[in-house]
Amino acid sequence: MTEQLQEHFDATISRDQRIEPRDWMPDGYRKTLIRQIAQHAHSEIIGMQPEGEWITRAPSLRRKAILFAKVQDEAGHGLYLYSAAETLGADRADLTNRLIEGRQKYSSIFNYPTMSFADVGVIGWFVDGAAICNQVPLCRSSYGPYARAMVRICKEESFHQRQGFELLMTMMRGTEAQREMVQDAVNRWWWPSLMMFGPPDDSSPNSAQSMAWKIKRHSNDELRQRFVDMTVPQADKLGVTLPDPELRWNAERGHHDFGTPDWDELMRVIKGDGPCNDQRMERRRSAHEEGAWVREAATAHAAKQAARAEKGAVA
C-alpha cells in the first residue's frame, strides 16, 4: 500500500505537480516542510524587531507610514506561513513555543543591530532582496499551500525592497552625513546578507533531499551568486561601495567573483552568539508571556459564550 502511495507521490513530484494537504506524503517530506515553513514564519516575526525599532523614530511622516506598513506586512507573512504549516498538522502555539525555547531557528540576519535610519533602507535593499532571491523559486515549490503563500509574500517583499532602495537613493542625494550613514549601513549588512543563503553547498546537509523533493529549487551557492550579480550594478547606480576587495567581474564565468563570507561567524550567530540573539528572543518571549492573560481571557470568554448559547438553545 505504502509503496503505491510512494510511487504516486514520486510521480506527482516528477511531473512538477503540487502536493496538497490531504495527499499522502512521506514523513520526511512533511517534517522537512514543517521545519522550513516554521523557520520562515519565525524569521518574519523576529524580523519585525530590527526595523520595528525605527517606526517611532522615522524622520518624516511618509517614511513612518511606509515602515509601519512594512512591519505590519511581516506580521501578516508570519500569519500566512504559520497557517501553511498548520495544513501539515503543525500547531501555531506549539511552533511558537519551539521558537521561544530555542528549539527552532530563525534567519541569522535578524541577530544584527540597526544602528541608524539608513539601516532601514539597506535592510529593504539587501535583506528583502536576498529574501526575494530565495523565495521567488519557492513560488514553484512542490507543496501547494507553501507555494501559494510565497506568491503573495514575494509581491509584498518586492514592494518593500523598492521602498528600501528608494529611501537610499533619496539619502544619497541628501547631505554628506546621510551618504556616510548609507555607506556605513552597507558595510555592516553586506556580509551578513550573503550569509542569508546558508552555508556553501558542500557543507549544507539538508539541501540535496530538499532539491530532490522540489521543496527547494536552487542551491545556496547558485542563489548567492545570483544575488551578487544583481546587486553590483545597483550599488553602482546608488553610488556606494560593496565592502569586498575581491569583488570583480569575471568575463570567463559570466559572473562576479567575490570573497568568502566568514562562515565561522555564521555558525556562531546560528548557535546563539550573534550581537542581538538574546535581545530578539527576550522580546519575543516577554511579548508572549505578557500576553498570556489576554489569550486566556479570550478563550474563557469564548467558552462562556458557547455555554450561554447552549443554555439559551435548551431554554
Binding site: G52, L61, A65, A75, G174, A300, K304
Partner: protein
C-alpha cells in the same frame, strides 16, 4: 516571468517614485475636492481644529507603534498596526490642510517634527504611556468612540477638505471602535484577572474623560456607547472627577515631551537632510 525579474528591475523606473510610495490601492480622499477656504470660515479656527485633531492622531499612532512586536498575539500586531496607520494617515491629511489654511504653507513634517510639547494640542489621554493591553483597549475604546462621534459631525463641516477627511475617517474609526469594543467585552467577561485589569484601566482612563467633552459636544453619544459596551462586558461605568487643565490648551502630562523626543530625534539631528 523569470525568477529574478523583480530584483533585476529594481534600479529602473525611479522617475515614477511617488506612484507606489504610499502603497498600492491608495485612494486620494481629496481627489476632486476644491482646496480653497470657503468664504465665511475663520481660517485661524479651522487651522487650529485641524492641528488639534492631527495631534491626537499622531500621538495615538506613536503609542500604537510602541506596541509593535509586543502584542499578545499576531492578529493583534496586525490590528494595532492597522489602527496606528489609519490614524497616522488622518494626521498627515489634517496637518497638510492646516498648512494650506493658516497661510504658512507648512508641510506635514513641519508640524510633526519642529514643534515642542507646549505647542501640541492633543488631549492628554492620547499621550499617557502604554500600560497593559487592558489599558490599550479602554483608551482605544474611549478615543475611537469620541473621535468617531466628532468626525461624524465634521463630515458636514463647511470646509470641504475637512469634511472629506472626516468622511474617510468615519469608516476607519468605526472599525477601531468595533475592535476595541469586542476586546473590552472579551476581557471584561473572560477571567478574574482580565476583569481586574479592565477595572484598573477604567480607573486610569476616567480622570481624562472630562477633557474630551470640553473639546466638542458629543458627550451624550459617547457616554451611551461606553455604557453599552461596559454593560456587555460586565463592567461598571466608572465615576470620575475630571482633572483640571486641558491638552487642547497646550497643558500636558510629563509623558509628552519624551514621546516627542523619540519621534523627532532623528529629524532634528539632521535639519538639512531630505528623507
Amino acid at each position: 516571468m523569470s525568477d529574478d525579474h523583480v530584483y533585476m528591475t529594481l534600479a529602473e523606473g525611479h522617475e515614477d517614485d511617488t506612484r507606489w510610495a504610499y502603497g498600492t490601492g491608495f485612494e486620494d480622499p481629496l481627489h476632486g475636492v476644491d482646496t480653497t477656504v470657503p468664504e465665511g470660515i475663520d481660517a485661524g479656527e479651522l487651522a487650529a481644529l485641524c492641528v488639534a485633531l492631527a495631534d491626537d492622531a499622531l500621538v495615538s499612532a506613536q503609542r500604537l507603534a510602541e506596541w509593535i512586536t509586543r502584542a499578545p498575539e499576531l492578529e493583534e500586531e496586525v490590528a494595532l498596526a492597522n489602527i496606528g496607520l489609519d490614524l497616522l494617515g488622518q494626521a498627515r491629511l489634517l496637518y497638510s490642510r492646516a498648512g494650506q489654511v493658516d497661510g504658512t504653507g507648512r508641510d506635514e513634517d513641519a508640524y510633526a517634527y519642529v514643534r515642542d510639547a507646549g505647542d501640541f494640542h492633543n488631549v492628554r489621554l492620547a499621550e499617557l504611556p502604554n500600560g497593559d493591553f487592558a489599558f490599550a483597549i479602554v483608551r482605544l475604546l474611549v478615543l475611537s468612540s469620541w473621535r468617531l462621534a466628532h468626525f461624524e459631525q465634521l463630515a458636514s463641516h463647511p470646509d470641504p477638505v475637512l469634511a472629506a477627511i472626516a468622511t474617510k475617517g468615519v469608516k476607519e474609526l468605526a472599525y477601531h471602535r468595533q475592535y476595541a469594543a469586542e476586546w473590552a467585552v472579551r476581557l471584561g467577561d473572560g477571567t478574574q484577572e482580565s476583569h481586574r485589569r479592565m477595572r484598573r484601566a477604567q480607573e486610569q482612563v476616567a480622570p481624562y474623560l472630562g477633557e474630551l467633552f470640553t473639546a466638542c459636544d458629543v458627550r451624550d453619544e459617547v457616554v451611551t456607547v461606553l455604557r453599552q459596551v461596559t454593560e456587555a462586558a460586565g463592567l461598571p461605568m466608572p465615576v470620575y472627577r475630571p482633572l483640571p487643565g486641558s491638552g487642547r490648551d497646550g497643558e500636558h502630562t510629563e509623558h509628552l515631551a519624551p514621546l516627542l523626543a523619540e519621534l523627532q530625534g532623528v529629524a532634528r539631528a539632521h535639519p538639512e537632510a531630505t528623507w
